[in-house]
Amino acid sequence: MALTPPPPRGTSRPRPGPPPAGTDRGTPPDATPDAHPGASPGEPRHLTSPLLLTLVLLTAVMFQGPVRGALAAPVMQSWMTVFVAVVLQALPFLVLGVLLSAAIAVFVPPSFFARALPGRPALAVPVAGAAGAVLPGCECASVPVAGALVRRGVAPAAALAFLLSAPAINPVVLTATAVAFPGHPGMVLARFVASLLVACLMGWLWQRLGRTDWLRPPARSSQEGRSRGAAFWDSVRHDVTHAGGYLVVGAMAAATLKAVVPAEWLRAAAGHPVLSVLVLAVLAVLLSICSEADAFVAASLTQFSLTARLTFLVVGPVIDLKLFALQAGTFGRAFALRFAPATFALAVAVSALTGAVLL
């Protein structure tokens, strides 16, 4: 392997430069749920993961005939199509978000955010929320970027406001909404107002009630003593494999629901004013549609009221299954379990109110 062993560059265990507050800590001491149970460094490993990967790949190739047969049922086929579609659709945006987050983590100094954002978190929240308008992507891109912001010392409340607003109020999504609802220009305004409101309220709520120990900043191997290029690619590699795994979980859940939920149920619920709002809110969570596409799906749910469809558009980008999985992966399960239900309740309440006023 290594023909010319390079000079030891970064064997620094006690790190020379004190890291800025709120940034990296090598491996979090609080045991993450999937922390290695007994992988001590000196443990002899006979079956290494490259070997395991090769074995898995070869087995899959060997048994592709039976596997195809088992997957020939129409339900399974449509499940797989939707699964692959969600992954393929989200992957480019995830990769772009990861590149952006790696660039923030490696090349933008923490002092930049200290200058760009107001010092008081109460003011930083709406500024960060409005800044979400400039990230043209869907929720897959915003999670890694928000993670990088937290690591770079941005107040979590502000980073979370950005996380919630970015997928909902960027120009791409608002244009899609205008195209999908040609007869209702108020829909675009209502979506913008309600989504920004939810983002800011959640930011302030986190600032008042949130506790730092719920938030596990993404574990990162130490970057000191390494070149910026190495740190950049290490960050990309880590985020893609990590968030990508959670994306697959979310895609599986979304495909399952798409294949299983019968359309007749929706028809029964549409007639009831309160129930219809709740049903579309739950549906937005379960379907996990990318925020750039959800307006078209909402437009096709013609049997539902405009307020119910607004709820669908506000809830979907801030919380859905795929997003929950990504948040749990980036910020930790303790965070996601508290943050997601609060976001859901607030998003439903705000969009019902906005719908009553604006639509």
Partner: protein
């Protein structure tokens, strides 16, 4: 035994994933799952994934072995192998009659109806025929031969529809537009067969049993099976 991915395995996984995404993007495979417009982004992300794999291997070799094994990632990363298998080994088909019969027709009133040539035979998309038949009273469609292409789906009672799925973003939000067939229908129709039907407009309508959406009829005079188009989805509607 370790079930965690180390740097090399991650690089291998990322390389395979990137190569698969590139393969799907360079062939027509991606058209089964996403809109054609996503293609540049797919190619770009495939290239980035391969570059990440290369950079990981490169830095791994230059770096002295680290006692803390910082490269080990949670087991959830293994799941990235699933879309890989699904795309390489199975390559599931585009959504077909199963989804079409479980989803209500998504016909919506378009913003306007551009004029069509005044007379002569006409080739229309399923969505365009349905929209003009239902919302424009078939104004430009009367008394002329029309040709539609779509796949066959049966509703619960065995009545045949000609369907085209429309995409806004990816197959997860695909929605069908249905046209009911009447007239000289072939005696044996298999769901998911692609048909090119020639016939005429008829004002007869029905309702989709799934969502009560409007479904126009089409009077078939001739039907011929055709191979599935490279882009199985109807991109002409929904923006």
């Amino acid at each position: 035994m370790s079930t965690r991915l180390n740097g090399q395995a991650q690089a291998a996984l990322l390389f395979l994933l990137g190569a698969t995404v590139l393969h799907a993007g360079l062939t027509d495979l991606h058209l089964r799952y996403v809109k054609a417009g996503l293609r540049p982004l797919l190619l770009l992300s495939g290239a980035v994934l391969i570059a990440t794999a290369a950079a990981t291997v490169w830095h791994e070799r230059r770096r002295p072995p680290h006692p803390g094994e910082p490269h080990r990632e949670p087991r959830v990363s293994w799941l990235l192998a699933l879309p890989l298998f699904a795309l390489i080994l199975v390559a599931p088909p585009a959504l077909g009659s199963y989804s079409a019969t479980h989803t209500g027709t998504a016909l919506q009133k378009p913003l306007g109806f551009p004029d069509l040539p005044a007379r002569g035979p006409l080739r229309l998309g399923v969505g365009e025929y349905a929209a003009r038949a239902v919302y424009d009273d078939g104004r430009h469609l009367r008394d002329r031969p029309l040709t539609l292409t779509g796949f066959v789906a049966m509703n619960g009672t065995g009545a045949p529809y000609l369907v085209r799925m429309g995409l806004n973003c990816c197959a997860a939000d695909a929605q069908p537009v249905k046209v009911a067939l009447t007239g000289a229908i072939p005696p044996v129709l298999r769901p998911d067969t692609w048909l090119e039907v020639t016939g005429t407009y008829t004002p007869r309508r029905t309702k989709d049993p799934v969502n009560d959406g409007p479904v126009p009829y089409f009077e078939v005079t001739r039907a011929a099976p055709v191979p599935a188009p490279s882009d199985p989805y109807d991109g002409a509607w929904g923006g």
